[in-house]
């Protein structure tokens, strides 16, 4: 049951991603991206990362995607028209060089993964043996919170500065238009 669901999510993610890249219409593509992100969040759940999945939906779907849509709207008014006029086909033709490259990487990685499949890393084996895996009943949110405040306190603080800077920067970069 679980595995079927996993496959379903996986197929959904990969399928929409494939469709996404071949769509000519960018608005539709961004919608598909939305689906991919959801599917990915679903996959995170199977790795027992519930908090990550939630964050994914919150940040990506709530933030990133909306941002992209806005950006698209701002930039592609004329382009949209052009595309609609000229495009007879629904899908754009893939670029063979990029395809070759991507497939090359994929083949290598799949080979690598199958090679790796034969020898599970020691630390994972140990975790399995010692039963120190995360199990569905763990309260991940609490654990993560604790670790943010201890082990990862420095990155946590730094990223706050980082976000502040990104905020200032992004706002500065876009403020310009109003100045003009």
């Amino acid at each position: 049951m679980e595995i079927i669901l996993f496959y379903a999510f996986a197929v959904l993610a990969i399928g929409s991603a494939l469709l996404l890249v071949n769509l000519k219409n960018i608005a539709r593509a961004l919608f598909l991206f939305f689906i991919v992100l959801f599917a990915m969040a679903g996959l995170y759940l199977f790795a027992l990362a519930d908090f990550v999945a939630i964050t994914q939906i919150m940040v990506y779907v709530g933030g990133v995607l909306i941002l992209m849509l806005f950006a698209f709207m701002l930039s592609n008014k004329e382009l949209l028209k052009d595309l609609q006029d000229s495009s007879g086909s629904f899908l754009s033709m893939p670029r063979w060089q990029a395809v070759v490259l991507a497939i090359g990487f994929l083949i290598l990685m799949i080979f690598g993964i199958t090679e790796w499949h034969q020898s599970i890393p020691t630390w994972i084996q140990q975790a399995k043996e010692n039963n120190t895996e995360i199990i569905p009943t763990d309260n991940n949110i609490q654990q993560i919170g604790l670790r943010f405040m201890t082990f990862y306190v420095l990155p946590f603080e730094v990223i706050s500065v980082f976000l502040m800077m990104a905020l200032i920067g992004a706002s500065h970069l876009s403020r310009k238009e109003r100045n003009r």
Binding site: Q97, A98, L101, G104, F105, L108
Partner: protein, 684 residues
């Protein structure tokens, strides 16, 4: 014996050498301000006197020898010093003795030339170099002076440097001499390598190193080193190459006729009497070095030179060129003297030749001087040196005629002259040498005899054409020839010529006018023993042959050149004889005169076009080579560098393809490289 014995001959020799040098320096400083040449004259007088004193002190006395350290290079110290033995003392006397009259002569001959200050300067430089050459005690120093005389000769040949032919000639002279210098240098290198010294006393002295070395088992072994025996021969030939160039031996003789572009006084001193004889002097000095094959080679070259030059002389019309070829021919004689091992005879001939050839040149100079005078006077354009324009000069210049005749007789080897003694000594010795060697070698003395007769003939021709008969140029200048534009040479020119004339006679050298063995000179230089047995009959027969041959040749020449044809008078008694004579004459004409002339013309042609063009060809080859190397330089050597640069640029260019400004091209290339790198690093 002599009152000057308490003065060391070394110092007198030093004075003899240095006096002209001081004159040179003075003249160099003074420049145009002093055109008289008095200082040069004083210099050479000093040399003459000290040379004489030195000669008195050294001749037939033990050698004098002094040296000081010059410089040290590596383990060997080179010294500068003076070596006085009979040979060098003789030369030390000879050179100023010839130079002094020439200096006096020049005062008149060169008068009024705008560059006369240079003339005196160069002349003094030459005297210094020549005197230095003869007294130096080391081969290295000899080499230095050897080149220096060449340099002085270069300057003097090109004295009239605005003349194209003169500068061509001096360049040719210097470069041909350079070839010889290379031989000298190689000889030095071989000697130094073999003996670790270049000092003449150490090398050729009583117990010199040269006598301690021997050829064993194909190795030439000296006390300090040994090398393959072929180097012994090469050393000999190398020194001979030096002498060949300097003494104008075939085929390096080509520079000497051209060198006649210089003033005649210079030709007389340098290119007849002294410098060209330096080669003989050198060979005499290093004589112990020569082995059998080198000597034979020298003898052969000497013979060829003597014969060829004599033939060439027959075909000449330029008075100085005839004398130049004659000089070459006589130098050939001396070389034969060296080659057969009788270097004393060669030296003897050198000395006598110096006097009579110098006199010949000076007389020729006087003639040319007068002819040039005539030319200027008559405003005609003709060559004052061309024999065909002369004739009958006896009328105008009787004293010159007499002096020149004496010198010519000496050249021809007529009895009672010095030439008779010295020339006979070489020919007779060569005959004896050939007898001891074998029949085949007889070709050398026989050639020499023929050459001797030819010599008599051509010098006779010169005398006849110049002095006897009618002045041929007169036809053209007839109407303008008012008064007497031709007259005897001035006293300043005549006196030195007379002095030299005296030196051409036998008493100066031997009280016995027919036997060279009684000559003091031969006594002084006499070798311990010749390598061959004397032949008494030769002493009688050969001079006779020579004498008769000369006389016959003169008679023919007289008839031919003075009377223009053989008289066929209707004297009946003499008719048959005349007929026979005519027959013989025709034969002579056909066989000897035409034949000789043809050979002469051919030889000259050969000389002009083959030997000379051989030089031209070599020149062409060298120039082509140089052009080729420039081409290589430009396109190959530089080309490689440029190609490397181009490859670098090209590579840089290829890199730029990625940088076409398109973001995705860049990204694509990056990941392509990652993928390829991955594949490479994993699978290879």
């Amino acid at each position: 014996m002599d009152p000057v014995a308490h003065i060391s001959p070394i110092y007198t020799a030093l004075i003899a050498v240095v006096a002209p040098f001081i004159a040179f320096l003075y003249q160099a400083m003074a420049g145009k301000r002093d055109q008289s040449g008095t200082i040069s004259l004083i210099g050479i007088v000093c040399s003459f006197i000290s040379g004489g004193i030195t000669w008195l002190a050294i001749w037939n006395h033990p050698i004098a020898y002094a040296e000081i350290n010059w410089f040290t290079i590596g383990a060997s110290t080179f010294k500068v010093g003076i070596l006085l033995n009979n040979l060098s003392a003789l030369m030390l006397l000879l050179v100023p003795t010839v130079a002094l009259p020439v200096h006096i002569y020049s005062r008149a001959y060169m008068k009024g030339d705008p560059g006369i200050h240079r003339y005196w300067m160069y002349l003094s430089l030459f005297c210094f170099a020549m005197l230095g050459l003869v007294v130096m005690d080391s081969l290295l120093l000899m080499y230095i002076f050897w080149e220096l005389v060449g340099f002085a000769s270069y300057l003097l040949i090109g004295f009239w440097f605005t003349r194209e032919t003169a500068v061509q000639a001096n360049k040719k002279a210097f470069i041909v001499n350079r070839i010889g210098d290379l031989g000298f240098l190689v000889g030095l290198a071989i000697i130094f390598t073999q003996f670790k010294t270049l000092n003449l006393v150490d090398l050729f002295g009583e117990t010199g190193l040269i006598y301690q070395s021997a050829v064993t088992n194909g190795q030439w072994v000296s006390p300090v080193n040994s090398m393959d025996q072929v180097w012994l021969t090469i050393a000999g030939l190398a020194f001979f190459l030096a002498a060949m160039a300097k003494s104008a031996q075939f085929p390096l003789h080509i520079w000497l006729p051209d060198a006649m572009e210089g003033p005649t006084s210079v030709s007389s001193l340098i290119h007849a009497a002294t410098m060209v004889a330096a080669g003989v002097f050198l060979l005499a000095t290093v004589f112990p070095l020569f082995n059998e094959s080198a000597l034979i080679f020298i003898a052969i070259i000497g013979t060829i030179t003597a014969a060829a030059a004599a033939c060439f002389a027959l075909g000449q019309y330029d008075i100085k060129r005839i004398l130049a070829f004659s000089t070459i021919s006589q130098l050939g004689f001396m070389m034969v003297g060296i080659g057969i091992g009788t270097w004393d005879a060669a030296l003897f001939h050198l000395v006598t030749h110096a006097f009579f050839k110098c006199l010949l040149f000076l007389s020729a100079g006087a003639i040319i001087h007068e002819m040039a005078h005539l030319k200027a006077h008559s405003q005609l354009d003709f060559d004052p040196q061309d024999l065909r324009n002369m004739g009958g000069l006896k009328k105008y210049m009787p004293k010159t005629f007499i002096l020149m005749s004496i010198a010519s007789l000496a050249l021809a080897g007529f009895p009672l002259t010095s030439g008779y003694l010295s020339k006979d000594s070489i020919i007779i010795s060569s005959f004896e040498w050939a007898l001891s060697k074998g029949d085949f070698y007889l070709i050398i003395p026989v050639s020499l005899i023929i050459v001797s007769i030819l010599t008599a003939f051509y010098i006779g021709r010169l005398i006849f054409k110049a002095f006897l008969g009618e002045l041929r140029i007169l036809d053209q200048v007839q109407d303008k020839l008012q008064g007497a534009p031709l007259h005897e040479a001035s006293k300043t020119m005549l006196i030195p010529m007379m002095l030299l004339g005296l030196c051409c006679l036998f008493p100066l050298f031997s009280l016995n006018p027919v036997s060279y063995h009684d000559s003091w000179l031969m006594d002084g230089l006499l070798l311990d023993e010749y390598t061959f047995a004397p032949s008494h009959s030769a002493h009688l027969i050969i001079p006779l042959i020579l004498l008769i041959g000369s006389v016959i040749s003169w008679i023919i020449g007289w008839k031919w050149y003075v009377q223009h044809k053989y008289s066929l008078n209707s004297n009946s008694l003499a008719l048959k004889a005349a007929f026979n004579q005519g027959y013989i004459n025709e034969l002579y004409q056909w066989v000897f005169v035409d034949g000789t002339l043809k050979i002469a013309r051919f030889c000259y042609w050969f000389d002009r076009y083959i030997v000379d063009s051989l030089v031209a060809f070599i020149q062409f080859i060298v120039l082509s080579l140089s052009r080729l190397s420039v081409w290589i330089d430009k396109y190959i050597v530089d080309g490689i560098v440029n190609a490397v640069a181009s490859v670098a640029y090209w590579t840089g260019n290829q890199v730029r393809l990625v940088q076409n400004g398109k973001l995705q091209t860049a990204l694509y290339s990056v990941f392509l490289f990652v993928l390829l790198g991955l594949i490479y690093l994993i699978f290879f």
